[in-house]
């Protein structure tokens, strides 16, 4: 029983490790691509960050974001990369839930699920 659990633990950890690494890498590539587009389009302008204005919808909501990305804009693409980055720890938590389910560890399935729900609720 413990040996099987150890094997499952090791598998799960490997999946999580890869997930994190590829997630961060993918996010970085997208952010870099968006960054290049952004700098090509706006590199010569002056930055305006002294006053907090809040980000427009195309930087925050997936729908308008995709529209703007397909329209060739850089910052929404960066924003999309940021969403991928944010999804990485969330996906990691999901993996843990699956792992605990497989181990029939109900206590931690519930605990991890609560944490996940709290996180998702704020989006």
């Amino acid at each position: 029983m413990t040996k099987r659990k150890k094997i499952q633990d090791a598998d799960l950890e490997r999946v999580i490790g890869n997930l994190l690494r590829y997630g961060v890498l993918t996010a970085s590539v997208i952010v870099l691509a968006g960054g290049i587009v952004y700098l090509v389009r706006h590199g010569g302008e002056a930055p305006e960050y002294r006053q907090f204005k809040g980000e427009p919808d195309i930087m925050r909501s997936p729908g308008p974001m995709w529209h703007a990305i397909l329209g060739g804009r850089g910052r929404p693409l960066i924003a999309f990369g940021l969403l991928v980055l944010i999804a990485t720890p969330i996906a990691r938590i999901l993996c843990s839930i699956v792992g605990y389910l497989l181990e029939k560890d109900w206590l931690y399935t519930v605990i991890t699920a609560i944490v996940l729900l709290v996180i998702l609720w704020n989006f």
Binding site: D9, A10, E13, I16, G17, N18, L20, R21, G23, V24, A27, S28, V31, L32, G34, G35, Y38, L39, H42, G43, G44, E45, A46, P47, Y49, R50, Q51, F52, K53, G54, E55, P56, M59, R60, G74, R75, P76, I78, A79, L82, L85, I86, T88, P89, R92, I93, S96, D105, L107, Y108, I111, T112, I114, V115, V118, I119, L120, W121, N122, F123
Partner: protein, 278 residues
């Protein structure tokens, strides 16, 4: 100054922050916020949002390396995350209502405490005796791999640790930093687990906690792509280089240097906050 120039400078600064952060364990976010607010006069809300992104990036990047070694106590991390995420959400909400000068002062104070904590004496882990009932019920006690094979350890003062994690969460949500120093102290000195376990578990938790407040930050429009892009890429690059240098670097002297820099930045933040320049 053009956006291009600004972006390049930010990127270089972020690389340095990531490098120092990974070598000293003091975190890159603490440098990003003062840099943005003091030097570039960026509104602190944007700065906090940017810092939070860098925290998620470095946490996930580093965790990818640690997870496989089997040192991180994921159950403990998850259990404590119940406290941290609740705190993070409270902190993020606070951030939207507190005046920015107050946030700046709080940031400076927390910075000073964090820098001091990073030099705190490590407590000896508890490996003998009987485990507490709560730690057994919650299955928090575990083993850590050593050269001599797996070494068991026990987790003490769970409620005390839980409470401290709650505070760490509030600070993280309010200021957009990782609060790694506070988390490590909570696990190391209060819960008496081995240092390596507390640092890796803390790193795991930092990413989860950051994910909790980031939703609120996104909805409030604190996260700006133009700022996040160079900072995220720079911090990741710096942390990557730092991890390669770790074995050869003189971390003690770096830590002292970094702590001095942080103290200076903290003083500036407090000064500017008090004078309402932020």
């Amino acid at each position: 100054m053009t956006i291009l120039g600004f972006t390049i400078i930010l990127f270089v600064a972020a690389v340095v922050a990531g490098l120092l952060g990974s070598l000293t364990g003091l975190g890159g976010g603490v440098v990003i916020i003062p840099l943005l607010t003091l030097v570039f006069k960026v509104d602190i809300h944007y700065a906090i949002g940017t810092s939070l992104i860098s925290v998620i990036a470095t946490s996930s990047g580093a965790a990818a390396a640690y997870v496989r070694e089997g040192i991180t106590n994921i159950r403990l991390g998850m259990f404590l995350e119940l406290a941290t995420t609740a705190g993070a959400i409270a902190g993020a909400w606070l951030a939207t209502y507190l005046p920015t000068s107050v946030i700046a002062i709080l940031f400076g104070v927390v910075l000073i405490i964090s820098a001091g904590l990073s030099f705190a004496k490590r407590a000896d882990p508890v490996t003998t005796g009987t485990p507490g009932e709560l730690s057994v019920k919650l299955r928090l006690n575990s083993t850590m791999p050593t050269a001599q094979g797996p070494k068991p350890y026990f987790v003490k003062n769970i409620l005390g640790g839980f409470f401290m994690m709650n505070i760490a969460g509030v600070i993280s949500g309010l200021l957009g930093i990782g609060s790694g120093a506070l988390k490590v102290i909570a696990m190391d000195n209060v819960m008496r687990i081995p240092f390596k376990v507390s640092t890796t578990t803390s790193n795991f938790m930092i990413g989860v906690t950051a994910a909790a407040s980031v939703g609120i930050y996104l909805n409030r429009g604190y996260i700006d792509p133009g700022l996040s892009m160079p900072v995220m890429l720079g911090v990741l690059g710096g942390a990557f280089v730092g991890s390669k240098l770790l074995s050869t670097a003189k971390t003690e002297s770096l830590k002292i240097l970094f702590a001095l820099v942080i103290l200076l930045l903290a003083a500036e933040m407090i000064y500017n906050g008090v004078n309402h320049h932020i």
